[in-house]
C-alpha cells in the first residue's frame, strides 16, 4: 500500500513501546510533512544517543563519559547510596530534590520467570562499593519498585549487605498512600502498608 521507504519507517516506528500501526502511520506522515531539518535532527539525535551514551563505570547510570554527572559531582554524599532498577528511576528521584547521595542502577529487578537472575543485575558491583574500605558507605536506600519483583530484589540486596557489611544501614522507600489519593479508592495492599508504616504526628 505504501511506497517501500514509507513502509520501512512505519515498521520501525511500530517497534516503539505504545506505538501501534495506526500511530506509526500518523507519525510517519507527520515526519513526511515536517521540514527536512526537523526530521534529520530526530534521526541524528537517535544516532548520537546510541554512539555517545554509555553506562557510568561506578553506578551504571547513563553517562556521556566514563562517569555520570552525579558520580562526578563532589557535592553529592559518597556515603549514601540509593539503589534503583533503571536509569529512568534516577531522573524521577532527582526531580524530588530530596536525595543528596549517589546512585547504583541495577539494570532491572530479579524475575526468575523472565530469566533475570542475580548475576544479570549489577549486584556484585553494589557489594563491592559497599565493602570498599577506601570509600566507606553509611547507608543504602533501596528504591526498587514496590512490585513483586522489586520487593524480591530489595530483600535479596538487604540480605547480601547484612552479610557482607553488617555496619551499613539498609533502608527501603516508604510505601503508603500517594499524595492526593482518596482512601475510598485505595487498594487494600497500599492501605495496609500505610497503616504498617504510620508515623507520629
Amino acid at each position: 500500500m505504501h511506497a517501500p521507504p514509507v513502509q520501512r519507517l512505519i515498521t520501525e516506528l511500530s517497534k516503539l513501546p505504545g506505538v501501534g500501526g495506526r500511530t506509526a502511520q500518523r507519525l510517519a506522515f507527520h515526519l513526511l510533512r515536517s521540514s527536512d531539518e526537523d526530521a534529520f535532527a530526530l534521526a541524528e539525535a537517535i544516532r548520537e544517543v546510541k554512539l555517545k551514551i554509555t553506562l557510568c563505570e561506578v553506578c551504571f547510570n547513563l553517562a556521556d563519559g566514563p562517569r555520570c554527572r552525579i558520580c562526578q559531582d563532589a557535592r553529592r554524599d559518597p556515603e549514601l547510596i540509593c539503589v534503583v532498577e533503571e536509569p529512568a528511576d534516577v531522573i524521577s528521584i532527582e526531580r524530588t530534590h530530596e536525595f543528596g547521595g549517589r546512585y547504583h542502577v541495577l539494570g532491572g529487578a530479579l524475575s526468575p520467570i523472565d530469566g533475570i537472575d542475580p548475576e544479570d543485575l549489577k549486584l556484585e558491583e553494589l557489594y563491592a562499593r559497599v565493602t570498599d574500605a577506601a570509600h566507606p558507605v553509611r547507608e543504602v536506600v533501596i528504591a526498587t519498585n514496590p512490585t513483586t519483583t522489586g520487593e524480591a530484589t530489595a530483600l535479596h540486596i538487604a540480605g547480601g549487605i547484612r552479610r557482607l557489611a553488617p555496619d551499613v544501614v539498609v533502608t527501603r522507600l516508604a510505601s503508603g498512600l500517594p499524595v492526593g489519593a482518596d482512601l475510598e479508592y485505595a487498594d487494600e495492599l497500599t492501605l495496609g502498608r500505610a497503616f504498617a508504616g504510620r508515623r507520629a504526628v
Copy 2:
C-alpha cells in the same frame, strides 16, 4: 537532569504529534535500551523517507519516483479521479478495495482562518487534469473530509469543474451513520445526513 545527548533526543521526540515530555522520555529510554541495530534502523528509515519520498508529478500522492504506484498502474481507470486532502486519505481509501480509479491529493483543505487559500492547494493541477483533451475524465469523486473545511473545499471544486468541464460528473462520498453505530448516540447532523441520503432497499 539528563546527559545532553539524552536531553536532545527527548526534545526531538516531543516534537512528534501526541508525544508529551513523559512519553518522549519513555521512548528515549527505550531506544537507549534497544540494540544499536534497531535504533540505527529507525534513524536511517527517517533519513531515507525524507531523501527518497517526493510528491507524484500527476496526482501529488507520495511517491519514491516521479510517479506514484497508482499513477504507474495501467489497470487503474484513468477516467475516474478521487480527490482527497492528504496522502494518508489515499491509504484509507485503498484499504476499502472499493475504488479502481486514480487520485488527486490537494495537500489540505480550504481554511481562510488558517491562511489556506485556493492557490495553496493543487486545484489548478486538478482542473488541468479534468480539462485535458488527451486524457478525458468521466467522473470526479470528491472525498474531502466531512468537516467544515472539507465541505467548503468540495463545494469550491464542484463549482470549478462545473464551470470548466460541464460534462464531467462530480460526486461526493456519502455521509451518514458509520457501520456499527447506534442511532441513540448519533449526533443530529450525521443522523440528518443519513435521512437526506436514504436509499431504496
